[in-house]
Structures are given as structure tokens and as C-alpha cells.
Amino acid sequence: MTALQEVPAQDAAAPAGVRREALYFALRNGKLLTGFGIVLTLFLLGLLGPLFLSGTGSEYGTQPMQPPSAEHWFGTTTFGQDVFTQFVYGLRTTFVVGAMGGGIAAVIAMLVGFVAGYRGGLVDEALNMFTNIVLVIPTLAVLLIINAYLGVRSVGAQALFIGLTSWPWAARAIRAQTFSLRTRDFVDLARLSGANTWKVITREIAPNMSSYLFMTFILLFGGSVLIASSLDFIGLGPTEGISLGLMLQNANQWSAMQLGMWWWFIPPGAGITAIVGSLYVANVGLDEVFNPKLRET
């Protein structure tokens, strides 16, 4: 039988009931658990791993170009650096850049998209114009100038810059979606129930497209990680530390592929793919948890 019928339909009006029900389905959703499980594992590895490791991964070692072994789990680089240590520190940076950059971009995109889409008219025109202007700003050139004048090179500054420049497409997508939702009768009905603009957006429109919003965040997260790695490549990345992108670029620079040193580029590549891919799988699961129509198949 369908999963829904197993759920007792009692006290559905109470907000606690709604939460309990979401949790009920969340804990039974394989996609959600797998996706979040992998992301959480990698996150904990990045968060707690450094506590158990000596060094930061940038120190040169005496055993260069070693394949994976008990001593060096992921092998070593051309300079004898431990790839596993680099990977663990890289995960840290990647999560920071992804979450901060993606988070900042998602918040701006939602603000601009919701307000423009729901309000329409002149507000929409103005916000749309602003969005389009940011969209056509040559990100790389601006970053070069900022770097030259300010010389800010921390991971946080990089994430902030990525966040502030990567939101326009998401804002446009959210605006379009909001446009189509705001003419639905349930929005009118919410207004007839005395809801103001903020409430209509947060309680009616946003929940309706929650999986879409989470998807936007995941794409922005993945995008931030990739932009960060390409910035690292041209030497505009953080001057200290290591990221998964930086590892990939180093491997590329020192011809790891041609030298058959697969252990140098596979872990960071797989790491980025695993994070973004698992978030995507988790999103499909989340959609099933929050969209009652998808639960019954």
C-alpha cells in the first residue's frame, strides 16, 4: 500500500505534527539519507580530520611520487606532500567556499527573485535591470582589479566575491518561478486570510518551490567550488592553505596524468563530484519528502 496511509492523520493542524511527519518520511527516504550521509561524512572528515593529522599537507616530504600505501593513504605528490592530508584540508576550504559563496548567492538571489517576481511592475523593472548589469560584469577582470588594489586573498574574501557575482541567473530563475506562482489562487486565498507580502512569500511561495530553491543552492554551491578552483588556477586564490581545486590544478601543472600519478587528481576530483552529486541526490529525496504527490508512488 502507499506510504501515506500508514501515517495516522491526527492533529495535522498542529505545526509540530507537520514537522514530525516530514521527519517520518525523511528517515524512510533512501536517497535523502544516502546523499546527506556522504556529504556529512566528507564534512566531518574535513572538520575533524586535521585534528588527527600532523602537518598541513604543504610540507615537502622525503618520498615523492609514492602510490597509495599504509603510510600515505592517498600517496604523495611530486614534492613528497601527503595527498590525504591535502585532501582533508582541501575539503575544509571547499566546504567553506561552497557554503559561503553558495549561501551568499542564494540569499541575494532569493531576495531579488522573490521581490521582483511577487511585486512586479517598476520594482521588477529596477531589480531586473540590476540583475542584468551584474550578469554581464566580467567577473575575472573585476577580480583582477580588486586583487591588485586591495590585495585581499583570504578564503572568506574569495567566497564573498564568488557569492556577490554568481547570483544573477538564480535570481532570474526564482523570479520567473515566482511570477507563475503568484497568480495562483492559493496566493489570493492567503491574502484573504490576512497574510502580508512577507508571509505570502515565506509561507506560500517559498515552500511550494522549496526543492527548487534547495536545488538552486546546490548548483550555486557546486558553481562556487568550481569557480574557486579556476581562480586558484590563475593565481588569484587564497595564498595560504589548499583546496580541492588547487590540488587539481597542481596535479595538472605537474603532469600527474601523463606521469600516471592517478592518486594525485582522483581524490580531489572525486571529492568535488561526491559533494555536489550527493547534494543533488539528497535534493531529489527532499522533494519526495516535502511534495506529498511524490510520496505515493
Partner: protein
């Protein structure tokens, strides 16, 4: 109670909003307490726009709409007394939430201090009032309920408030024939309770079944209004006749109404925009758009 006075709604159309289109043009009528007034017109005649303006969901370009002398002011206080039910019950519910959330929203906004038990009792009794079994409809998602159930839940939602006026915008269009009669009988009961109902429809027979008075709308203007019996029994305006002739009848051949060329407006210019053929029965210029007004 509800009074529309020379209401207009103008949309800007064209590439740069250079042209204007009057969706509603100088409409005046009223709805008294304990009365059902049906607003009849074909699609695009502006009837839903009028409903939206009364509910404060669309702005009013000109004229005034008042309820008990108070102009339309979207907000909690206004919606306590004026509510609407819309055409499509399926799109009135946010599909990601359970259907009974519409009741919870009313509680949160208007009765935040009421105990959960007391409120639940009230919701259940209101649901029984609209002839539904609370156990069958509560705690379910919109897609698990039928159109008739959803529509009746929306009426129940409106009844939880201290209602004076209900705008029913094509509420039976999406329902099958038997449910339709149930919902109409429900509206008739509301009337008994002293509510004013504005019944917006394109269905003449349903309007005839329910309403004391009928307002016929054509391209944003009222062409004829009066007691339902008078308007349907003795239509004066050619457009009304045309509408009535367009209703298919068993055992009767199709027959176009002969257009009248007498223009009541010009015969009786002093009486204002509409000619009062008999007390309470008003009719507009018969020459329609060709009227040299």
C-alpha cells in the same frame, strides 16, 4: 451593504503601455444583506475583475466600492467580513500542504488565543454545516479530495469568520451537476443567515435558480439589471435577449432574438446612464457600441 459606484478598471496594454483597455467601465450596483445578486456575463466581460476589486486583490482605477460605507481596504479587518471563493478549487490549495491548513491560517490570523480543542470543535461543526464528514476531509492533502469537497471546505473556511459578504466567483463551474446543486443550496442557506452573496457566473440557469437580482454585464458595462424574474422573464436589452436565446432548450428550435433598435438611453437621457424601465429594472442603451453617447 456592498455598493459599487461608477467603478472602472483600466489596464495599460501595448508595448510601452501606450494604449488603455477598460476591463470594467462605470459599473454601479449594490448587494443587500440576505440577498444573492448574480453577476452574469460572458468571458472577458469583466465580472471576475469586479469580484477581485471587491476583494481588494485588484486595484480600483476609478469610482468607489464600499462595504457598509467603508471603502475596500485589504487587510485583516476587511477580510473578517468580506471573503471570496474562487472558480478552481484545485488551485486554491497549496499542493505541498494539507487541505485543512486553510483553517489553520484563519485561526492564526483571527483567533490566535482560542484553544486548539475549542477551535477543532468549531472547524468540525462548520465542516458539518457544509455537509461534509470532518473525518473524511481533515488531515488530507488537496489531491486526495474531490473538487466538490475542496470547494465546500473553502466555503466552510469563509464561514469561520464573522462574514457579511461572500464573493462567489464561478464557484460551480468546475463541479458536476449534482455537487453543483449541493453548493447552490448551501449558498441559499447562507442567504437565510443574512449574508450578502455576489454570485459571479456565466451560467444563466444557475443564476436564475439562486439570485434575487441579476446584473448583466457586457464588455465591462452593465447592460441590464433588476429582479431576476424581470430580467429573465421580460428582458429589455437586446444583449440579454441574445444571452437567453443562447441557452439550449429541449424541444425548442434555435432562434435568434430580434434586436431592438429603440434606445432607451436616448429616449430618456435625463435619467442618467441607464434607463429605469420599471422600478428597480434598469437597462442600458440598446445600440451597444454604436451608441452616440
Amino acid at each position: 451593504m456592498l455598493k459599487l459606484d461608477n467603478v472602472t478598471k483600466v489596464y495599460k496594454v501595448g508595448a510601452f503601455g501606450g494604449k488603455v483597455f477598460a476591463a470594467v467601465d462605470g459599473v454601479s450596483f449594490d448587494v443587500q444583506a440576505g440577498e444573492v445578486v448574480s453577476l452574469i456575463g460572458e468571458s472577458g466581460s469583466g465580472k471576475s475583475t469586479i469580484g477581485k476589486m471587491i476583494l481588494g486583490l485588484a486595484s480600483i482605477t476609478g469610482g468607489s466600492i464600499t462595504v457598509d460605507g467603508v471603502p475596500v481596504k485589504p487587510g485583516k479587518d476587511y477580510y473578517r467580513h468580506v471573503q471570496g471563493v474562487f472558480q478552481d478549487p484545485f488551485s486554491c490549495y497549496n499542493p505541498v500542504f494539507k487541505a485543512d491548513r486553510v483553517f489553520q491560517m484563519i485561526k492564526d490570523a483571527y483567533y490566535p488565543k482560542l484553544g486548539d480543542k475549542e477551535w477543532d470543535e468549531r472547524v468540525r461543526s462548520t465542516i458539518r454545516d457544509v455537509r461534509l464528514d470532518p473525518d473524511q476531509v481533515l488531515g488530507r492533502y488537496p489531491h486526495q479530495l474531490s473538487g466538490g469537497q475542496l470547494q465546500r471546505l473553502l466555503i466552510a473556511r469563509a464561514l469561520l469568520l464573522d462574514l457579511k459578504l461572500l464573493v462567489a466567483d464561478e464557484i460551480t463551474s468546475m463541479l458536476d451537476a449534482s455537487t453543483r446543486i449541493d453548493v447552490l443550496n448551501l449558498l441559499a442557506e447562507l442567504k437565510e443567515r443574512g449574508l450578502g452573496v455576489l454570485y459571479v457566473t456565466h451560467d444563466l440557469s444557475l443564476g436564475n435558480y439562486l439570485a434575487e437580482r441579476t446584473v448583466v454585464l457586457r464588455r465591462g458595462t452593465v447592460v441590464e439589471m433588476g429582479a431576476t424574474g424581470k430580467v429573465f422573464g421580460d428582458p429589455l436589452h437586446p444583449y440579454t435577449r441574445q444571452l437567453l436565446a443562447a441557452v439550449p432548450r429541449l424541444h425548442a428550435p434555435w432562434e435568434d432574438a430580434a434586436p431592438t433598435q429603440t434606445c432607451h438611453y436616448h429616449e430618456n437621457a435625463a435619467s442618467g446612464a441607464m434607463f429605469e424601465a420599471e422600478p428597480g429594472h434598469l437597462v442600458a442603451c440598446a445600440q451597444l457600441d454604436a451608441c452616440p453617447k
